[in-house]
């Protein structure tokens, strides 16, 4: 079945070929090739690629609901950030007595704020399995409750987009508060190690990169499985004619709710993998702008196809890394233009453009063939 999922579609074949190649070549290039060699891949690049993979997974989760079900979430960054905070809390507890204040029980910022004991919601985050469970549960539960409320009362289209934006905005304001117990403005940072391995070590970086590869691959497979299943076909039916799907007898809100929850969990996983690689999580991740940027990755790549968003996330983020270093002034202009041009000229994104080009080549070939024939 897995082979069917991978091989039945040209984009998926490409994606998995590249993903597997990266999973082999990057560790070899980083760990085995000596540092002087031109083939050596610096750790900085490994981490950067790992970051892009997390973004790709996030884009995938947005595409799943937007491209396949027409739910435009402008707040998916919230689920990403919540997953990230769960991971950050685990990493924070791993610091133990090595913090600036040397308090084994409390993270530095709590000592700084004169807190006497750990708040109850921090309990258990010193255990890796519990933290990982929370990575899935916290975004999932929030999305479930939010989705159950919103979809049952048939909040649709633009209204839904705006209340998702309100959700992430409210969370951002909340996490900025010191009283929340999540480090306020500065967020969680200064991480030392994960599962006993130092986060600064090349080996750990490569392992995190591989984990991101794996997560993206598995996430992609799961999405692909979802959208090719019967469930997926109902989802597409809801996207195209919601009322009709409802009248035919499908419980539209349940389908939407579960899809939304699954998508949020994917976003949470992406966030959890993102945090140890960049080494910080702060309330800025909740900013509405971030969530909208994710939507742009999906639009650029091509929504309604699963590999499109992966491509879009990689391409836009590479461009961002390049421009912010080379021409920082230009980046926002470029991003703004990208939004406008893609939505006006390329509604199907890069994937749609490639498809059109291929179609044109084929028709020109056939016309050429028919012209030669007589």
């Amino acid at each position: 079945m897995i082979t069917r999922l991978i091989l039945s579609d040209r984009g998926s074949r490409w994606l998995f070929a590249v993903l597997i190649a990266a999973a082999v070549l990057v560790p070899v290039g980083n760990l085995l090739v000596p540092a002087g060699s031109p083939l050596h891949i610096p750790t900085y690049t490994v981490t950067l690629l790992g970051k892009y993979l997390c973004y790709a997974l996030l884009a995938l989760s947005v595409d799943l609901i937007w491209g396949y079900c027409g739910i435009l979430s402008l707040g998916h960054g919230a689920f990403f950030a919540l997953g990230g905070y769960c991971m950050g809390m685990y990493l924070m507890r791993q610091i133990g007595g090595r913090g600036v204040y040397g308090n084994a029980e409390l993270p530095d910022f709590m000592v700084f704020l004169n807190w006497q004991e750990l708040p109850w919601y921090w309990y258990g985050f010193d255990m890796f399995p519990f933290a990982m469970l929370m990575v899935l549960l916290v975004p999932g539960l929030l999305a479930f409750v939010f989705g159950a409320l919103a979809f049952r009362s048939r909040v649709n289209g633009v209204y839904l987009s705006i209340i998702t934006q309100a959700l992430t905005y409210a969370l951002m304001l909340a996490f900025f508060r010191n009283e929340m117990g999540f480090g306020g403005n500065n967020g969680l940072t200064d991480f030392k190690d994960i599962l006993g391995f130092s986060l600064q070590a090349d080996g750990t970086r490569v392992a995190l990169f591989l984990a991101s590869c794996l997560a993206l691959g598995l996430g992609y497979l799961a999405c692909r499985y979802l959208v090719t299943s019967r469930f997926g076909r109902v989802i597409v039916a809801i996207r195209d004619a919601e009322s009709r799907a409802r009248f035919v007898g499908y419980r539209v809100e349940r389908y939407k709710m579960w899809l939304f929850t699954f998508s949020a969990v994917l976003a949470g996983i992406a966030g959890a993998l993102y945090v140890p690689q960049v080494g910080i999580i702060n309330p800025g991740e909740f900013a509405p702008l971030n969530s909208i940027e994710v939507v742009v990755w999906v639009a650029v790549g091509g929504r309604g196809t699963l590999f499109g968003p992966v491509l879009g996330a990689m391409a836009v983020n590479y461009a961002k890394t390049y421009f912010t270093a080379a021409l920082p002034e230009v980046w926002l202009y470029a991003l703004g233009l990208l939004f406008v041009l893609v939505t006006v000229l390329l509604p199907q994104g890069i994937v749609g453009l490639l498809g059109r080009l291929r179609l044109r080549r084929r028709t020109s070939e056939t016309t050429a063939a028919t012209a030669e024939a007589p």
Partner: protein, 529 residues
């Protein structure tokens, strides 16, 4: 009340003008009188002080006060200086001077002190400006004695201003609180009932705590309680005003959006940036006419309307018209535009905040009583937003453009069939909505920092207001904006500013679940479109 302070300002201006005309002659004479203060004997000093008081010079009070506070120094070269914590000024001319070595304090004795207090009070209480008199009485209240009471009585005989009279009577009652006869004290407590001055409250508290007579004590406690109740009511009014002020800002920011989003179904994420453009237009206008700050806002309002409207029309013609019927795509494209506008402003004006000056007529505040004062800028902006709302309503309901806009919004195909050029109407509607955003920017420039991120901070709020009020309904926007502002301000004392905002957001999210079409949903076929 408004008229009184206004007249007060006029009087002050007139006074200044009168003082400036014969300034030279007056100054010389005044300088001589001030120099005479550095005399050998206390009697001579007292005579000199009387002369200074009689000069009628505007800084006479300042000089006498300095003498009373021991800040008046005599320099070896005969000049007299007022030495404060932040440097010295020449007492006669009021010009700053360098501290002179070897200058000594002009010493006075207790008898002179009493005389000086009387002179200062007399000067201030007889001042033609009611504002100055009021301040003088207020300053004297904490240290009332028999001498001050005598002066108060004298002032009461001629005083015409009700507020000043009121305060003078409070002062007399305060003196009576020290009387030996409990009946007098009781009467004084009763006269002080309901007065909001902090000194009165402190004295009543003292009486309620420790008066020898239980009846007086009880009366004071009761009076205090009534004053507290009154204060509570004023605090309520004040919070209500702050809430309405915040609400009016929200309405201003959201009302343009209500048109583009509500009437046209277009989601304009660049709306915040159009507000920002309006604020920057104000800045540019002020740079262009630095001599006429008072008029700058009057010029800025139409200018900002034009700038934002033109940019809005450009956005509509260049981008949005290709995207009608695809609301989510419009959202993304206009978001791109917002990034472009932000970056453009950063490139042109620098990423730092610009300062927009507040014209004099908007500065200051309207003090209704000691417990309640209302800042002018917020008051004007509240009025302004209501005016903008009314104007918009008139445009939509009473003009041919408004008729066409509503027709296109209700049924595009039918309107076109009847000869409405829908493309032109779309552009104009978008221009109107954008122009109002620009006007909102002018108002916001008086309240917050003008920077490239100005728009971003309002966009989420504006959407909330429109969605809460019900899309396509201007009255809904007004009610939603004002009520959200008021709710926010009433929550703030209990929850803090940030938490209040979060609570409001959560409330809206939940509210939308209950009523997905807002407070005032559109009815009929339009609702299905």
């Amino acid at each position: 009340m408004l008229a009184r302070t206004f007249l007060g300002r006029l009087a002050l201006g007139w006074l200044l003008a009168v003082c400036l005309l014969p300034a030279a002659a007056l100054a010389d004479d005044f300088a001589e009188r001030v120099a005479a203060l550095n005399a050998g004997s206390f009697a001579e000093k007292q005579a000199a002080a009387d002369a200074v008081a009689a000069s009628g010079h505007p800084s006479a009070v300042a000089v006498l006060k300095a003498l009373l506070d021991g800040k008046l120094h005599a320099a070896p070269d005969g000049r007299v200086l007022i030495v404060g914590a932040d440097g010295a000024v020449d007492a006669a001319s009021g010009e700053p001077v360098d501290a002179v070595a070897g200058s000594s304090r002009i010493v006075i004795n207790n008898r002179m002190r009493a005389g000086l207090r009387g002179l200062i009070a007399q000067l201030s209480l007889g001042h033609p400006d009611a504002e100055v008199r009021l301040q003088a009485v207020r300053d004297m209240l904490p240290a009332m004695d028999a001498a001050a009471a005598a002066q108060f009585r004298e002032a009461l005989a001629t005083e015409r201003d009700d507020t000043v009279r009121d305060l003078l009577e409070s002062g007399l009652a305060l003196v009576d609180l020290d009387a030996d006869d409990p009946a007098v004290r009781l009467a004084a407590v009763q006269r002080l009932d309901g007065r909001l001055n902090p000194t009165v409250r402190a004295r009543l508290q003292a009486v309620a705590d420790s008066d020898a007579d239980p009846q007086v004590k009880a009366a004071a406690a009761a009076a205090l309680k009534r004053i507290e109740g009154k204060l509570q009511r004023y605090r309520f009014v004040e919070t209500l005003f702050f809430g309405l002020s915040l609400g009016s800002v929200l309405v201003l920011a959201a009302i343009g959006l209500a048109i583009t989003f509500g009437v046209m179904g277009v989601i304009n994420m660049a709306h915040g940036e159009l507000i920002m453009l309006g604020a920057y237009t104000t800045y540019v206008v002020q740079q262009l006419m630095p001599q006429h700050l008072g008029w700058s806002l009057a010029v800025a309002v139409p200018a900002a309307f034009l700038v934002s409207a033109l940019v809005g029309i450009a956005i509509e013609r260049g981008i949005i018209r290709f995207l009608y019927g695809r609301p989510l795509e419009t959202l993304l494209a206009t978001f791109g535009v917002s990034l472009l506008l932000q970056q453009a402003v950063r490139s042109i004006f620098s990423p730092l905040n610009r300062t927009v000056a507040t014209p004099e007529w908007m500065a200051g505040s309207l003090a209704i009583n000691p417990a309640l004062s209302i800042t002018y800028n917020r008051l004007y902006i509240l009025i302004f937003s209501l005016l903008v709302f009314a104007a918009l309503l008139v445009v939509l309901k009473r003009t041919s453009l408004g008729l066409k806009v509503r027709a296109v919004a209700q049924n595009r195909a039918m309107a076109r069939a009847l000869g409405v050029r829908s493309a032109r109407v779309d552009a104009l509607t978008f221009g109107l909505g954008s122009g109002i955003a620009g006007v909102a920017g002018v108002a916001l420039s008086q309240l917050t920092n003008v920077g490239p991120n100005l728009g971003q901070s309002y966009i989420v709020d504006s959407f909330m207001v429109v969605v809460f009020g019900g899309v396509g309904n201007l009255w809904g926007t007004l009610v939603a904006g004002l009520s959200l502002g008021v709710v926010n301000k009433f929550l703030e004392p209990y929850a803090g500013a940030v938490l209040a905002k979060i609570l409001v957001l959560v409330f809206i999210i939940l509210f939308i679940q209950k009523r997905p079409r807002g407070l005032f949903p559109q009815k009929g076929r339009a609702a299905e479109a």
